[in-house]
């Protein structure tokens, strides 16, 4: 049996989906979070019948006639896959608007059960909806629910399964086509009559509410942006340098710095394992994975905070604030949503670009979204900030700020290189603010923690083992006395000359950057494995082994380099499928490489002059590289300007 969940954006579909399947899909108190359908089986505790029940969560839609890409998924699924029953989730607080979509669903002939959701908010407003009357007017069952508190859910599922088992055909709504010729107008008449009969409301929603008053502050013309920076600053400082950093330090220092490796060494020595294998497991696998897993508390604190922020409803306001600035660079407020999602992981962020209608705007957003520091980049930031900037709370937040600056500059540059007019029009629903749910934040926290551990024990473990081999063996497949003669050193050595203009010296850096493309956490893990030979000390200690390769300025530049160069392979794959053409994928990767390279070069060279009063290594070559890049960019801009002129000329010739 197949149950589909459909409804307006932000009506609580995914919350319901998570409640009845036990999954922890990404939920946010803002529209456009779900961009693809999600499937899972009904949780056992709701399983009252002996059939297996599949639940499909669909992206939100205001209408079955698609306006945006994600609405099309809903239509395709509902019409193409024939679910046995549709649960139409309605936000009881915007009944009339929601019913427009309901009337379309009712016409499909598939039985519909309505979940009248957010009853708690409805009651708080002092409103009431007569659900019995609603049911009889619409010819379908109506169940009152509060999805985030799991109220009414059991009943809803029972009713849905019963309805589906009866194999009845849904009666279409009684639209009056005699008075109104236009189908949509008939729908509107129909819904407004229903609302008049069922909905008891004593409030005037046009009045200024507490939410509106808050909006006037957080989305203020001048205050909006500083408030957003302040909020993000607080979140990142608290999780990277504050509580999260403190707990991670403990884990790095004691658990993965001493207790686990010591115990493992003692165990392997006890049973008499070959020292080579022991070194592989302890230095390679445990050392590398441990260096990453040590940052688990930090990741958990960060996602707990982001979970609270998302749930509060603040994020749609950020879109409103950013719209004005993003318009200047050819984007719109819609582009901020993928970027906020991208602060968790670039992949869903890139996929969320699907909510953007304008193709140019969508491409630009896809290219710029990976600039946002994702969860995987956090360990690198935390490591470098602990080693080179102990007791400073600005490093983590400054990376976020730098990301916003680079998104803006990058957008401007992209607009210059690939000229286009932004035709997209911006609309976003503003949900009422709410006190963020601790449960939601906790769920998000554990979900990300779980994902982090899985990632560390799969892709990072594999890469570390590989890195250990490559740094311990030479091309003749014999252990090498010096790391410099290893396979990895020769690979790194191929790339390291390219990094000289950035002030980065050493094949180790190149190797870390390379493994970072597989997964960004690998940068940390690779350093842990490579430097374990040089020192027994834990990697993250202030002024630790990393200080042998970097000084604070080049360390910061290296951070920036990892932030802005192309993301991991998985995210590049996601970019590929969203951009839909190899040409654009290469442009995107080229652009990201260029930006990462130039930013790191500028930080490292100019930073060295300012901080140390002397030029960093590779200063001469950096000037040469900078000049060539500037020439290249001006040529590209010039070329596209000519193209525009040509098009304009042709247009005026043809027009007159």
């Amino acid at each position: 049996m197949k149950i589909a969940l459909a409804g307006n954006p932000n009506s609580g579909k995914t919350t319901l989906f998570n409640a009845i399947t036990g999954k922890t899909e990404y939920v946010g108190n803002w529209p456009g979070v779900t961009v693809e359908k999600k499937e899972a089986f009904l949780k056992n505790s709701y399983q009252t019948f002996n059939t297996s029940v599949r639940i499909v969560d669909l992206p939100g839609a205001y209408s079955i006639a698609p306006y945006t890409g994600e609405e099309a998924i809903t239509r395709d699924f509902v019409t193409g896959e024939n679910p046995d029953v549709i649960i139409n989730i309605i936000d009881a607080n915007s009944l009339e608007r929601s019913l427009f979509f309901t009337t379309q669903l009712l016409e499909l002939g598939i039985p519909v059960v309505i979940a009248l959701n957010k009853q708690d908010i409805l009651k708080r407003h002092g409103d009431a909806i007569d659900s019995n009357k609603l049911a009889s007017l619409l010819n379908c069952s109506v169940v009152e629910t509060v999805a985030n508190k799991e109220k009414g859910i059991k009943r809803l599922i029972e009713v849905a399964i019963e309805t589906a088992s009866s194999k009845s055909i849904q009666a279409p709504p009684d639209l009056d086509f005699n008075v109104e010729r236009n189908e949509d107008n008939a729908r509107q008449k129909f819904t407004s009559v229903i609302v008049k009969e069922c909905h008891v409301s004593n409030r005037d929603t046009n009045e200024i509410s507490l939410s509106d008053r808050l909006d006037r502050i957080v989305a203020h013309k001048w205050l909006g942006l500083p408030i957003f920076f302040l909020v993000m600053w607080a979140v990142y400082a608290f999780s990277i340098e504050g509580v999260g950093g403190f707990l991670s330090e403990y884990m790095n220092e004691y658990i993965f710095g001493e207790i686990v490796p010591d115990a493992a060494n003692a165990f392997f020595e006890g049973i008499g394992v070959s020292p080579l294998l022991q070194s592989l497991i302890v230095d390679g696998a445990i050392g590398g994975v441990g260096a990453v897993v040590g940052f688990l508390p930090l990741i958990m604190v960060l996602f707990f905070c982001l979970g609270l922020l998302e749930d509060s409803g603040y994020m749609s306001r950020v879109a409103v604030v950013m719209d004005r600035f993003f318009k200047k660079i050819g984007l719109s407020g819609k582009s901020i949503i993928p970027m906020i999602v991208g602060s968790g992981c670039a992949i869903p962020g890139v996929m969320a670009t699907r909510t953007i209608e304008d193709i140019n705007e969508r491409r630009m957003t896809t290219i710029l979204t990976p600039f946002v520091p994702c969860g995987a980049k956090i360990p690198i930031i935390a490591l470098f900030s602990a080693v080179f900037f102990p007791n400073a709370s600005w490093v983590g937040p400054s990376m976020y700020l730098l990301a916003i600056i680079m998104i803006t500059l990058g957008g401007l540059l992209l607009k210059k290189i690939f000229v286009w007019e932004n035709t997209s029009i911006f609309l976003i629903e503003l949900p009422e603010y709410k006190i963020p749910s601790l449960k939601h934040a906790t769920t998000q926290m554990f979900k990300h923690a779980k994902g982090f551990i899985i990632k560390a024990t799969t892709i990072i473990l594999v890469m570390n083992t590989l890195v250990w081999f490559m740094q311990a063996y030479g091309w003749n497949l014999r252990p090498v006395a010096m790391q410099d003669a290893s396979i990895l050193a020769s690979f790194g050595g191929l790339i390291s000359p390219l990094l000289i203009p950035l002030g980065f010296v050493g094949w180790q850096l190149a190797a870390a950057i390379l493994t970072g493309f597989v997964a960004k956490e690998n940068v940390v893990a690779t350093f842990a494995v490579l430097l374990a030979v040089a020192s027994e000390d834990a990697l993250h200690l202030p002024g630790g082994v990393l200080a042998g390769i970097f000084n604070p300025v080049t360390g910061y530049a290296f951070l920036a380099f990892n932030l802005f160069t192309p993301p991991c392979f998985a995210a590049i794959g996601a970019m590929n499928s969203e951009l839909g053409s190899k040409k654009w994928l290469f442009r995107a990767i080229g652009f990201q490489l260029g930006v990462g390279y130039v930013v790191a070069m500028v930080i490292s060279q100019i930073g060295s002059i300012i901080v140390y009063g002397e030029t960093a290594i590779g200063f001469g070559s950096s000037i040469f590289v900078l000049i060539s890049i500037i020439l290249l960019v001006t040529r590209l801009i010039h070329k596209s300007d000519n193209k525009v002129k040509q098009i304009l000329a042709e247009a005026s010739e043809g027009g007159i």
Binding site: Y26, D76, I281, C345, R354, A574
Partner: protein
Amino acid sequence: MPTIIVGLIFFGIIGVAAYKSRQSMKNNSCPGCSGSCSIQEKQKCGRSTKI
């Protein structure tokens, strides 16, 4: 002997991890990340973006 046993166990784990990583990489995702299309949905996703 202990070397062989420990080695087998270790490389067994690596093998499983590598297999899982490969599976999810094919799928434009990282192991443990829930942000991507499943294989069956791939075509659907691709189509819906081209509107």
